[in-house]
């Protein structure tokens, strides 16, 4: 991999040059929190943000999107508006890039999702590293570093950024800036290693995920799930803010006074009461306890069987978003604790 460095004072210049590759989006401050948004001016970008309210998945799997338009006689015509828009996401944290890599696997396979694929192709990612806060456990989830899925990745190493070039597009961005980027030397590599060591020490949360699937199997009947079921409001906030939650609903709407209409998909949550409800009235996950259990089970156990790792990157968003303070780290600790097993 090509590794270069960019002196910090030249970042502004890089940001202005890179806009020739697409519309620039970055974290900006909004009511004391951060959101990924189109930049109107570069100084609005907040590259030292903690976490955005919604993860970058909103760019690849929008909260609502039209899939088809329907007209009698024409059938279902795919809706492609906006899919080819070129965007640069500047300042994506490693956990969020990792989450996009996870979504990549879900939306690939035998049946590739062409809407997701088109957006993924047209949205460039410039990652940036970060310092963990009290809700970050990405290191436990093996998502504190990424080796692919970005075009460029910047590590803040003091007076300059060390830049990993991930794709040919990333390389083109570097080349377009002329001589802004410089080669790295041994001292720079040591800076990086020091930075890596400091980051590791900054983590306050730690979760052991080895053999977690087995523990989940063993604790399937744990009373913890009923307890969480009584606590959970089924609001679905955790799913909305989750960078790897991908469940969606599909609805058809008819335009008033015509027989034409459109087919839309929108974010859904397995915590919603109708998620597993079939037309006959049978609900395979009716009780709230079984729904919240399913969410944890699918992320930490089911996804491991399917894709070889949990579909959680430890970004900490669900911990911030939950109105009743259900905390995934505490849930896993409770499941692992020996006392609970003895009490039953």
């Amino acid at each position: 991999m090509k590794i270069l460095k960019l002196p910090k004072e030249k970042l502004d210049l890089f940001a202005s040059v890179v806009q020739q590759f697409g519309e620039l989006h970055a974290p900006v401050e909004q009511d004391g929190k951060y959101v990924f948004k189109r930049l109107t001016r570069w100084p609005d970008a907040r590259l030292e943000y903690d976490r955005t309210i919604l993860p970058p998945k909103k760019y690849f799997l929008p909260p609502r999107e039209t899939l088809f338009r329907y007209r009698p006689g024409e059938g279902f015509v795919p809706h492609i508006e906006g899919l080819d828009q070129r965007i640069i996401l500047f300042g994506v944290h490693a956990c969020d890039v990792y989450a996009i890599n996870i979504l990549d696997r879900v939306f690939a396979g035998k049946y590739k999702d062409p809407y997701y694929q088109a957006r993924r192709k047209n949205i460039a990612i410039i990652g940036i590293d970060c310092t963990p806060d009290k809700q970050c456990f990405c290191r436990s989830m093996r998502a504190d570093f990424v080796d692919h899925g970005f075009d460029l990745f910047f590590y803040d190493t003091g007076d300059y950024y060390q830049a990993l070039v991930g794709t040919a597009l990333g390389d083109d961005m570097v080349l377009a800036t002329g001589s802004l980027f410089e080669p790295v030397d041994t001292a720079n590599i040591d800076d990086y290693k020091q930075r890596s060591r400091n980051k590791r020490r900054a983590f306050q949360l730690d979760v052991e995920i080895r053999d977690l699937p087995e523990i989940f199997e063993m604790e399937y009947e744990s009373e913890l799930w009923d307890e969480l079921g009584r606590q959970c409001l089924s609001c679905g906030s955790c799913s909305m803010v989750c960078p790897t939650c991908y469940c969606y609903d599909v609805t058809d709407d008819v335009e008033l006074g015509t027989r034409a209409g459109k087919r839309t998909r929108s974010w859904d949550s397995c915590l919603f009461a109708n998620h597993a409800l079939v037309a006959s009235g049978e609900n395979f996950r009716g009780p709230r306890a079984s729904r919240i259990k399913f969410r944890f089970y699918h992320k930490q156990r089911g996804f491991v069987a399917e894709y070889g790792r949990p579909s959680c990157v430890g970004c900490g968003r669900c911990i911030s978003a939950c109105p009743v303070h259900i905390d995934v780290v505490q849930v896993i600790e409770r499941l692992r604790s020996v006392e609970d097993v003895a009490r039953r």
Partner: protein, 290 residues
Amino acid sequence: MLLADEVATYHPVLNDNPYQPHMARIVRIYKMVENNHLFTLRFMEDHLAHTFRHHPGQFIMLSVPGAGEMPISISSSPSRPEVLELCVRRVGRVTDALYRMRTNDVVGVRGPYGNGYPMQEIMGNDLLLAAGGLGMAPLRSLLWYALDHRDKFNNITLMYGAKRPEDMLFREELLALVDRTDINCLLTVDADPSQTWRNHVGLLPTLFDHAKIDPARTFAAVCGPPVVYRFILQRLLDLGFPKNRILMSLERRMKCGVGKCGHCSIGYKYTCLQGPIFTYWDALNLPEMI
């Protein structure tokens, strides 16, 4: 290979879209039972009508324009191609809309999806089909596939139960099988108030008294409401059926049919990809299976 002029217009969303419904004409609506009609469809595009092939046990996503899309199992056998037969019960918003449609109206179809029955494994063995109520809908595809390839199977037994004679799906064609010697077709009703029923009366499991079944060389395909699974599965286990020779067809909420939308997930399997046909062994290892 794409032709040169196709390359210019190629767009994955336009040309390679797994969510794209293909329009099909309703060629026949047969009222088998009140609110359980059999819809026969034919693709508007001739090449699709000729080339569409499915495995018994697979399903399609059926679009009723303006109402929505739903998973429906294919009731016709791949050995009888060109048209698709769907047995649809009127239970919800989309099926309601379908029931308002008339012959020659147009719906959308995509698929086939799901694993279907493991035909290669089943061939050469005995086949027991056990269905209750609407469970006959997916099993009918397997039934006719087996009868159309009769030499590939040993003994074939069908056990089918309905509440009353007038509730029995595919009644005429199944009654016509009773006299055939190449299948043991056992039909029963829970009750026969009209006193016109010439076959068995009694609950589905009582049909086991009239069947000769060798668990070591039989695959059992079971489908029906939860009560059917409860009694039939127990009976099969008592007979000594290995758990991976009991095949179940499951129903789940689905929005995509292709393993993305998440609704049909059971534990770590998607009903639309790894199912809808699961073995009883799968069922024991997956939570919330039935």
